[in-house]
Symmetry: C2
Subunit: 337 residues, 2 copies
């Protein structure tokens, strides 16, 4: 079987006995071509297996129908899920998704922004709002539409996301209402990560409001072991917290594992809360009390907003996706005494 050279518009035009302009129109504005010729053309397209060349099209139309997403890593299930639905919506709109990862490093993000620009992305999805001004300027000077997702942002820019701070605040209030006075937190690494730092801020604000004084916060990388280790450190200090709130479910599940290893009952001896409501949280025993974050809905909303931005349609500056506390079994009253 011989390798067949890719057919061009010219080939199709010749096969259908029309000009290249007509073929182009058949593909991009079918209503501007009379039915009979259109059918003839489409037949030729089919027969030759023609697919338009992206380079040529991009060059001539100044449009790539490509959208870029720069996320920390797909290994984090919450991003994988959001990106999946983001991509599905894009795909329906005829756009293709270009994916890059920053590994939580602003410098690397900056590089990837360059890659996306150079590939002519029509729009860009970024995560959160915490980034060097240089990265933002870079984008704005190019006038390329972009969006922060997974969180709400500052006074300018477009965002589709959750109010991480408020959700953490509400959850903390609930913990306090259960009677806890000694609360500690295992947060995600907050440097250049506004989701992590907002969650920490939310917890701090609520404990302050309740007059509990400054709570202890350990920041830990995103991993079960890291959560376990931080939990160990927290629980060997005196006075021991009666509730440990975690910046995400992975840390929380790691903490639960460590609690079991230490012979601590949850929630009998210590309450634990998470954030994200990943699959695993419904499955551990007892079930993890956490904050449900609808990543799929967010991905879809982000795609729709970015599409509008690209089309220069009017959009709200921020879209807040509501979250909800999911009470399962890891939050109880503090141990007596």
């Amino acid at each position: 079987m011989n390798e067949i050279a890719r057919p061009t518009l010219d080939d199709v035009a010749r096969a259908a006995g029309v000009s290249t302009a007509t073929v182009s129109r058949c593909l991009n504005a079918p209503e501007r071509v009379i039915t009979t010729t259109r059918e003839r053309v489409m037949q030729a397209v089919e027969a030759l297996g023609y697919t338009p060349d992206f380079g040529g099209r991009a060059l001539a139309s100044r449009r790539t129908n490509t959208v870029g997403a720069i996320i920390p890593t797909m290994e984090n299930a919450i991003f994988a899920r959001g990106v999946q639905s983001f991509q599905e919506v894009l795909s329906k709109a005829g756009k293709t998704l270009l994916v890059a990862s920053s590994g939580y490093d602003p410098e690397h993000e900056r590089e990837q922004i360059g890659v996306m620009i150079s590939r002519g992305a029509d729009g860009l999805l970024l995560i959160g709002s915490a980034r060097p001004q240089a990265n933002v300027d870079y984008l704005r000077r190019r006038g390329i539409p972009y969006l922060g997702a997974w969180n709400l942002g500052g006074p300018e820019g477009h965002f589709v996301g959750f109010n991480n701070r408020a959700a953490a605040f509400d959850l903390t209030r609930r913990v306090i209402a259960r009677g806890h006075r000694r609360i500690a937190m295992i947060g995600g690494i907050s440097y250049m990560n506004d989701r992590a730092s907002d969650r920490i801020d939310g917890v701090r604000a609520a404990t302050r409001e309740a007059g509990l004084g400054e709570i202890r916060v350990i920041e830990a990388p995103y991993g079960f072991d890291d959560g376990a280790e931080a939990f160990g450190a927290l629980m060997t200090a005196e006075p021991r917290p009666t509730a440990v709130m975690c910046g995400n479910d992975v840390l929380a599940v790691g903490a639960m594992r460590k609690a079991r290893e230490m012979g601590l009952r949850v929630p009998g001896d210590v309450s634990i809360t998470g954030f994200d409501d990943i699959d695993i949280s419904a499955v551990v025993d007892p079930g993890l009390t956490t904050v449900r974050v609808p990543h799929r809905r967010m991905g879809e909303a982000a795609a729709e907003m970015l599409l509008k931005l690209i089309d220069k349609q009017p959009v709200d500056r921020q879209i807040e996706i509501p979250t909800a506390i999911v009470e399962r079994g890891t939050l109880g009253p503090p141990p007596a005494g």
Copy 2:
């Protein structure tokens, strides 16, 4: 702040007082330009913030430095993980990843292949080997290098993956060695999914080899609830199986949940096994006995192979990534009687 038109090669050339050809050479073959002029050019590039236009470059060079991946869905953690490492390796090689999803539908996969071709992907990552011949032909006629991943394949084509059948076979032998004679299986949907069907085949082959006769297999979609439901059906039939082997960990964890709901102890009343070793499997109680599948390593190996294929370097036709049985707590001897 005004939006700044993207500078072109021409702009840089003018700023540096050279021809566009020289600028192009500075970027693509620096050694062919004398140092002094090169420095002058690079300065202009820097000053203008020039990034080459992808469309123009693709058109002129017939190369896109783009690689496509068409996977069922990123929501499945095993793909998300593999794609992440795939992307990282690609990125280091200066290639960008285009992502599309097939939703496990061959028809949709075919469409996405078209999209990738039309975008000039230099190479393609597909999942597994089960697909209509038409999809394969489409690719081969174009002469575009592609790769099946996550499984090994038939007599032709390139593959980087696991021997799903052999791994399932080995695990089943282990189950039988524990004394189980009544084994049932909850498999993934096998239609056009060779990973799922190979795992089922492996289990069947081992039970046959042991003279256990035809075992009951229920196929279920990829979801906790689906695993739970299938498990319920299996355990209400007579005679009840003493071991339920699952085609993936998600089904297995669903089965474990259902077992608890039914008041069945695992592994006291029934043993359960999984496949994939996702995060959750180490965290459930008891820990799930399963097959560890190194997705990251596979993603990396796939990227390296595809890169070589694109460069027309010689490669092995198949690369097998080894798997390993992970014994945790869900596999025990069958209940007495």
